[in-house]
């Protein structure tokens, strides 16, 4: 299929992006890596009036570390994320997630900002942001505001991002030296996971974050399972999942399939964290 007609503008700076957003309002969509958006256009699932290409906005690029905080620009490609030494040191969970994301061509173009802003509930990076207690930096003409990942993902493809805002960066307090693991089950390598788990331990004795993907409308944490796991009760943690996730039936199978696989993944994640 061919996309419905749309206009195209390329912004060179954030003020220019804000101008274009002002002018075009709801009919505009931001184009970053385009790995989900362009497919949606071609399927005519989305027909925006104009695409605002933000790939030339320098302020959205780059990975830096200062004052114990890793800042990842929204335009960081998945491939860059997977190869960056600062990410490997301070947020190794992200580095581990990258090989699971689609295929090389997609990782070369897709961006972390695009993935988080789309908020696909079966994608790796939103769950990682949740597990890492990441802060999302949302920029608008009025300045920046910071939203915790847990407040950012609000529903199926719904986020806290307002129409006049651009997701500018992700900030993560350093997790250097802390155990983490990413477990997922996909029918083929690179497919969206049937069930996935991003697990990030804190400093010794400080608990563990379990962020699930592919089990509901948003990436989600399971606090009761986390508590049981910290208490050393894996079976209890696995049992707790039954009340904390409510996966849908789909082409892969009934909800019972995901409940079962989530328990298996939790066991594997616990072993991986222990072996860290």
């Amino acid at each position: 299929m061919k996309p419905a007609p749309f206009a195209y503008a390329r912004a060179a700076s954030l003020p220019e992006v804000f101008d274009l957003l002002d002018r075009h309002g709801e009919s505009a969509r931001l184009l970053a890596g385009g790995q989900s958006l362009v497919a949606a256009l071609n399927l005519r699932l989305s027909s925006p009036g104009i695409l605002l290409d933000i790939n030339g906005v320098e302020a959205l690029r780059g990975i830096g570390f200062a004052d114990g905080v890793l800042r990842i620009g929204a335009l960081t490609r998945h491939a860059e994320l997977g190869a960056d030494p600062l990410v490997a040191r301070h947020a190794p969970l992200l580095a581990r997630a990258v090989p699971h994301i689609a295929h090389a061509a997609i990782r070369t173009r897709g961006t972390i900002g695009g993935s988080l802003a789309l908020a696909d509930p079966a994608a790796e990076l939103p769950a990682c942001a949740l597990a890492l207690d990441a802060t999302l930096v949302l920029a608008s003409r009025g300045g920046e505001r910071r939203v915790a990942a847990v407040d950012f993902f609000q529903g199926l493809y719904q986020t806290a991002l307002r129409g006049d805002e651009v997701l500018a960066a992700v900030e993560i307090a350093s997790r250097a030296g802390q155990a983490c693991t990413l477990q997922e089950l996909a029918r083929r390598h690179g497919d969206y996971a049937i069930v996935g788990l991003a697990a990030q331990a804190g400093p010794p004795g400080a608990g563990v974050a379990l962020a699930w993907f592919g089990v509901g409308g948003t990436p989600l944490r399971t606090p009761r399972a986390e508590a049981a796991l910290v208490a050393g009760d894996l079976a209890g943690a696995q049992a707790a999942l039954a009340g904390e996730i409510d996966p849908p039936a789909d082409l892969h199978g009934p909800p019972a399939l995901r409940h079962h696989l989530a328990r298996v993944l939790l066991g594997r994640a616990a072993a991986a964290l222990k072996g860290h």
Binding site: M1, K2, P3, A4, P5, L43, R44, L185, R187, R188, H189, G190, D191, I194, L251, H252, G253, P254, A256, L257, H259, H260, L261, V264
Partner: protein, 791 residues
């Protein structure tokens, strides 16, 4: 020294893995697929397709579409019917097969989600799609008959009331004495119900056609991504009211076909009709989304089956009951009854049974039509047969390899006619199985499996023997009344520069047909391969033929090319004999030159011979024949089909916690008779194995109860990808057919035929410690976990 065969010439290319002559051109991006072609005044068509599985079309409002930018014409079913007549997909020899007239565009009623309803022609495909979005159809949704199990039940909607019921075809066959075998009190009976998932063949290049009507000539030219140009010539002529000679079908590069591109599709017929209506070139290129609901589907079968085995391991009988849903129409002109018919023909095929009973029931339903897709019926029959054989082995405590050794038809027992009435000229089941077991080091593999099982790692070994139908004679379609040629021809010509031009009726879709033809002819004539050019896929410039499907390219097209090449060589030798004042029998053609047959000494370069014949014919004896071109045709006559055989094995690991299957290794030993190009045959086998593995584990056209395709894109219809594929080891046993000088049988179906059965048996081997079994493809994590009782 033993006598050389017709193909064992000193400079033969038979059996050599030479590169394909067209590979470099395609890799360089210089292919000419239909979508690459641009003709003056060309316009594009897009179709409004039914969003409903079954619905009445109450009204169509195209006012806005007609006024949309770039739109040239909007055509509904009623208008289309005035130009293109409907067709009915039946064949006389499939007794009782019935179907309803099918139109290029639905007129009053759409019968599956995806059926084309309105055609919009515009300057660009994008403009055509924009305008499609502006058409308003008033639909009255009708109840849909979706579930094939309920198709014949009272109360189920009859899709075509004039046919009386939803039964398209039924055939029952009984051979030998199955009832007494099953009644044997000393025997053991095993049984299972098998499901094969509905698939579709996904070609890299989607279906495409560029049709051009030239009113000045009164001729239609169709550039078509298709496997059977002459068949399409007939079809276009018949349904557009033309003479066959006034239709030219050109199939240049075709990006994969697998049987998908050998059927009549309503959108392609509509495109040809639109070219006629508009008197200008019209292009249709199916995108992947519309391909998923409009390319033929296949393999939607449920088979209940049982086998009787004696305690000492003799399989005495098999009985199968097959049910298949084919969509709302039997596809024209090959029909949708062939797959079920093949299941009846092929089950139990590798074995010497005393009793065989088989029935197929083919029913209509409101889903995408199904028809022949690579290895038609074979993967179904092999999964059933080999599943039963493994169940029999388990029931009597015998090794799966051993029970096959005891029951496979003996290699010295041919010719043989089996209880399904199939005639085998010469098969090599035991040689293939022996080679397979040696390749995989069967005993060591079993030991490894058992050692790992003790550590909680569940691996399985699965074996599948199979027969394979190739080189079809007129018994496949011709006797049923279809104008589908079983004969093929080749014209081979020597040009004055000593180069050779071949024109052949078989076609190239990426599998290397042209390489095969070039190799055969280069060897037969006696020239270097680089001096041979091949033309295929053009009804105007190639001999009449059937095209390439059912593994007929090498066995039939190759034999015609061999005979034509031999004839040209004889012509050359007669002329050379006159020029050299030597007996033609004392000469030969080797390496592009006429040589002394005994010594190999060069006597005359072909360029020189060409120069004299074409430009200085005055110097030759007056009565000397001057033809340097020969055409030969070939039709298999002794056997309806050249059956071949082979054996496959799968080694895999089942994660019993997640139900995931990891393929570790796959083996295939296949007998296609004379191997012309080992590399091409091996890759043909590997590609076929991968398609079989896709069906076994991943691919599935899943429908909602309302008849909506839920796997409508490649995000949900899971194709096998390189990362999940195991190494595939391929080897051959060669039993050439004696029916032809070339001795080649087909190789295209083998990989797909046996792979799903091998995987099924390997999974069940891995699950054996748990008493769990799966027989429903695809073998998904959910199905395996269900069998394990974990969900």
């Amino acid at each position: 020294m033993s006598e050389l065969s017709a193909v064992d010439r000193p400079n033969s290319y038979i059996g050599r893995s030479v590169p394909r002559p067209n590979a470099k051109r395609l890799l360089a991006g210089r292919g000419q697929y239909v979508d690459d072609l641009r003709l003056p005044r060309m316009v594009h068509v897009a179709f409004l397709r039914s969003p409903h599985a079954h619905a009445r079309i109450l009204a169509i409002d195209s006012t806005a579409a007609k006024a949309a930018p770039g739109v040239v014409r909007v055509v509904t079913g009623a208008e289309m019917a005035a130009v293109c007549t409907p067709w009915v997909g039946v064949l006389h020899h499939l007794k009782g097969l019935k179907s309803a007239p099918q139109h290029a565009l639905a007129i009053d009623r759409a019968c599956w989600q995806g059926e084309p309803v309105v055609a919009v022609v515009a300057r660009t495909r994008a403009e055509a799609e924009d305008a499609v979005g502006l058409i308003e159809v008033a639909w009255e949704a009708l109840p849909a008959a979706v579930d094939m199990e309920a198709a014949l039940a009272a109360g189920t909607l009859v899709i075509h009331p004039e046919l009386g019921d939803n039964l398209a075809f039924q055939r029952e066959h009984v051979g030998g004495e199955p009832d007494s075998c099953f009644a044997d009190p000393d025997g053991v009976v095993v049984q299972a119900t098998f499901h094969t998932g509905r698939h579709t063949g996904v070609c890299l290049e989607g279906r495409a056609i560029l049709a051009d009507w030239n009113p000045a000539e009164g001729r239609l030219t169709a550039y078509h991504s298709n496997q059977a140009p002459h068949m399409m010539q007939t079809v276009f002529a018949k349904h557009l009211g033309l003479r066959e000679g006034d239709v030219r079908v050109i199939c240049r590069d075709v990006g994969g076909s697998y049987g998908i591109k050998v059927h009549v599709y309503p959108d392609e017929m509509a495109t040809a009709a639109l070219a006629r209506m508009l008197a200008r070139p019209v292009k249709f290129s199916a995108d992947r989304i519309e391909g998923m609901v409009s390319d033929i589907h296949a393999r939607d079968h449920r088979i209940t089956a049982r086998a009787a085995v004696t305690k000492d391991g003799t399989i005495t009988a098999m009985e199968i009951d097959d049910l298949t849903g084919i969509g709302p129409y039997s596809v024209y002109p090959r029909t949708s009854a062939v797959e079920g018919n093949q299941v009846v023909n092929l089950c139990g095929g590798p074995y010497g049974l005393r009793g065989y009973k088989a029935r197929t029931t083919v029913v209509f339903q409101n889903k995408t039509p199904t028809c022949q897709y690579r290895a038609v019926g074979h993967p179904i029959a092999t999964a059933v047969t080999e599943g039963l054989v493994d169940l029999a082995a388990e029931a009597i405590g015998m090794d799966p390899a051993e029970i096959r050794r005891r029951n496979l038809l003996p290699d010295d027992g041919y010719p043989f006619r089996n209880l399904a009435n199939l005639a085998f000229e010469g098969l090599s089941h035991h040689a293939c199985l022996t080679k397979l077991l040696a390749m995989m080091d069967y005993e060591a593999l079993k030991a490894e499996r058992d050692a790992l099982r003790a550590k909680g790692v569940y691996r399985g070994i699965g074996i599948a023997s199979f027969i394979e139908l190739t080189n079809p004679s007129p018994f496949m379609y011709g006797i049923g009344g279809a104008r589908i040629s079983a004969m093929d021809g080749a014209t081979v010509r020597l040009d004055p520069d000593g180069s050779i031009a071949i024109a052949s009726g078989v076609t190239e879709q990426g599998q290397g047909t042209e390489a095969m033809l070039a190799q055969i002819v280069a060897g037969a004539v006696g020239v270097d391969l680089s001096r041979v050019r091949v033309t295929t896929g053009d009804t105007e410039t190639t001999p009449y033929g059937g095209g390439t499907w059912a593994s007929r390219g090498a066995g039939i097209g190759g034999e015609a090319a061999l005979q034509a090449g031999n004839a040209l060589r004889e012509q050359i030798l007669v002329i050379a004999g006159a020029m050299l004042q030597a007996a033609p029998e004392s000469l030969d053609v080797r390496g592009g030159a006429v040589v002394d047959r005994a010594t190999g000494a060069e006597r005359l370069a072909l360029e020189e011979l060409g120069r004299i014949v074409y430009f200085r014919g005055d110097t030759l004896p007056k009565d000397l024949p001057r033809e340097l071109v020969a055409t030969r045709h070939y039709t298999p006559k002794d056997y309806p089909f050249a059956f071949t055989n082979g054996a496959q094995a799968s080694y895999l690991e089942v994660d019993v916690e997640t139900g995931f299957v990891t393929l570790l290794k796959h083996w295939c030993v296949e007998d296609c008779g004379t191997v012309i190009n080992p590399m091409l045959v091996d890759e043909q086998i590997r590609g076929g194995v991968v398609q079989g593995l896709g069906g076994a584990l991943l691919e599935h056209c899943v429908y909602s109860p309302e008849g909506q395709l839920l796997t409508g894109s490649l995000a949900d219809y899971l194709l096998p990808m390189a990362g999940e594929m195991p190494d595939i080891a391929v080897a051959h046993v060669e039993t050439p057919t004696k029916e032809s000088a070339l001795g080649a049988k087909g190789a295209g179906e083998a990989g797909t035929a046996g792979a799903p059965a091998a995987v099924q048996n390997a999974i069940n081997d891995a699950l054996r410690p748990f008493g769990a079994r799966v027989f429903a493809q695809p073998f998904t994590p959910a199905r395996i976990l269900t069998a394990l009782g974990k969900i």
